[in-house]
Amino acid sequence: MREFLLLIRSEEEPKASLSPEQMQQHIEKIGGYLKKLTEEGRMKSAQPLEMEGTMLSYKNGQIVDGPYNETKEIISGYYHLLAENLDEAIAIAKQDPRFEEGIWRMEVRPIKHVEGIN
């Protein structure tokens, strides 16, 4: 089994325009999906990220704020999961019910394995 980091990206807050009923459906669908992965032992961790926070960079000998993305896209959460290979990780990602709402993007990246470190 290899480890993967799935970065959930969205523009602003796609859930903000959902009705209360749709929000509940969203929770129930995604909760069910994550629960299944957890029970299968594949999901190591899943966390939402707050909308606030900052970007830091090193410029001219000091750490400064920014630069920020030109688009409004932001990482709104991540999954840390186990899969046989990249194809399987992608297949799992594709099953995420949030895509039914059509306003999400997901980046699937294998975690680099370094002998003796992780």
Binding site: E13, K15, A16, L18, S19, E21, K35, Q47, P48, S76
Partner: protein, 424 residues
């Protein structure tokens, strides 16, 4: 997230978010004032959003209500710290203060919801705005969902809401004043019944949301029956009985092909016996007393249909006499019109046509499309197809929404007639 969190995650009750939305907006509006009702709606939407973000990943917490209430309270307190509100807030003396120690007790929630219901149905607010306000604020439906259920569009519904919120600014409801509650209960029930009727309209479109609308109407009346502020609940029970009897037939009225099925042709084994039983229980509660009201008569009429083994075996004489009683309470052209089907079953179609033509001569019922629709039906039964067609066309000219027009066009095409909605 630890793995165990999600596997132990709780389940939410049906419509949890919608119902809690209604409770929270009602309570928070009590503190911000009806002039800030939109702010209250935004606060609650934000609290629900926060819950969604956390719960989708971490699972639903052990006490989702408490989680939601604390979040909503904190957002409200943050907003109150803003200068604009601080100034307004300290200027209003009578209004209760919301602070860190505040907790959402069942009593506060119940009173706030009741107050909100009476505010939304205040006579100074237009009827269609009342309906939109109730559904948006107390039932937690989005504008899109209301538009969908009402075969309308978002722009129209939003206009009604904006107008309604404006008119609501001046509304003050005192729950402790018995007179206010007694006097206004009727208009609250009337608005809820309109919501029910809209949801109950036979159509294959948007069936799920319209069934929801019927259930929601029942929930709203139940909130009234649970309140200690309302002393005389006879009308509430009668309306509940009526709604339960009607909704028991909901699923038998439309075929799998989306065609509307006449009461006469419905498969009565599909009627929901549990819902009929609930209706009977509420009807029993009111027959113990001896007050007769519009809703108790309508409920008894509906009960008569529900308990009849077949259309032919329906006790039309009893139903007709109930309509006659209703006329004593409310001598309106609409009641006369609704009475006609029962009248035609007892006295024959020809007499029914005469009766309708007399009604037309002495009232303005001819402006109403269902009058021509009913007349068309009777002509059809008498095999006067030409006249039937004319009446259908007249109904089509008068029908105001696309849903009714579509229905009528189908009728004209097929000249196979179904009775108006109250009989389906």
């Amino acid at each position: 997230m630890s793995n165990s969190n999600l596997t132990q995650s709780q389940e939410l009750t049906t419509h949890f978010f919608r119902n809690e939305y209604g409770k929270l907006v009602a309570v928070i509006t009590g503190y911000l004032g009806t002039e800030n009702i939109e702010t209250a709606e935004d606060i609650v939407q934000e609290a629900l959003l926060k819950a969604t973000e956390h719960w989708e990943m971490r699972g639903i917490p052990e006490n989702p209500k408490a989680w939601l209430y604390t979040t909503a309270k904190n957002i409200t307190l943050n907003i109150l710290k803003r200068k604009k509100y601080q100034r307004e807030y300290t200027n209003t003396i009578q209004r209760p203060r919301l602070d860190e120690t505040f907790s959402f007790s069942e009593e506060i929630i119940e009173d706030s919801q009741l107050k909100m219901m009476f505010s939304c149905c205040h006579p100074s607010i237009a009827e269609n705005s009342q309906i939109a306000l109730i559904l948006k604020i107390l039932s937690g439906l989005s504008i899109a969902e209301i538009a969908n259920a009402f075969f309308s569009n978002e722009q129209t519904i939003n206009k009604r809401l904006v107008r309604g919120r404006k008119q609501m600014r001046n509304v003050v409801i005192d729950l402790k004043s018995k007179n206010v509650i007694e006097e206004r209960l009727d208009s609250v029930l009337k608005t809820i019944y309109l919501i029910f009727t809209e949801g109950y309209f036979p159509s294959h479109k948007n069936n799920v949301i319209r069934f929801d609308l019927c259930l929601e109407s029942i929930r709203l009346v139940k909130l009234l029956t649970e309140s200690i502020n309302i002393k005389n609940k006879t009308d509430c029970y009668a309306l509940l009985a009526l709604m339960y009897f009607n909704i028991s037939r909901f699923n038998s009225r439309v075929s799998s092909e989306g065609e509307i099925i006449d009461l006469k042709e419905q498969d009565r084994s599909k009627w929901d016996s549990q819902l009929i039983q609930s209706g009977t229980q509420y009807l029993d509660r009111i027959t113990q007393g001896n007050t007769i009201s519009k809703y108790s008569i309508l409920a008894t009429i509906s009960a008569n249909h529900c308990i009849s083994m077949s259309y032919e075996k329906t006790n039309w004489t009893e139903i007709l006499s109930l309509y006659d009683q209703l006329l004593l309470l409310e001598d309106s052209p609409i009641v006369h019109l609704n009475r006609i089907v029962a009248f035609s079953e007892v006295e024959g179609n020809k007499k029914a046509i005469e009766e309708l033509l007399q009604l037309e001569a002495r009232s303005d019922i001819a402006n109403y499309y269902l009058y021509h629709f009913t007349l068309a039906e009777l002509y059809k039964k008498c095999s006067q197809l030409k006249k039937a067609q004319q009446c259908y066309k007249q109904a089509l000219n008068l029908a105001s929404n696309d849903r009714d027009k579509e229905l009528l066009q189908k009728k004209i095409k097929k000249l196979v007639l179904i009775p108006p909605s109250q009989l389906s």
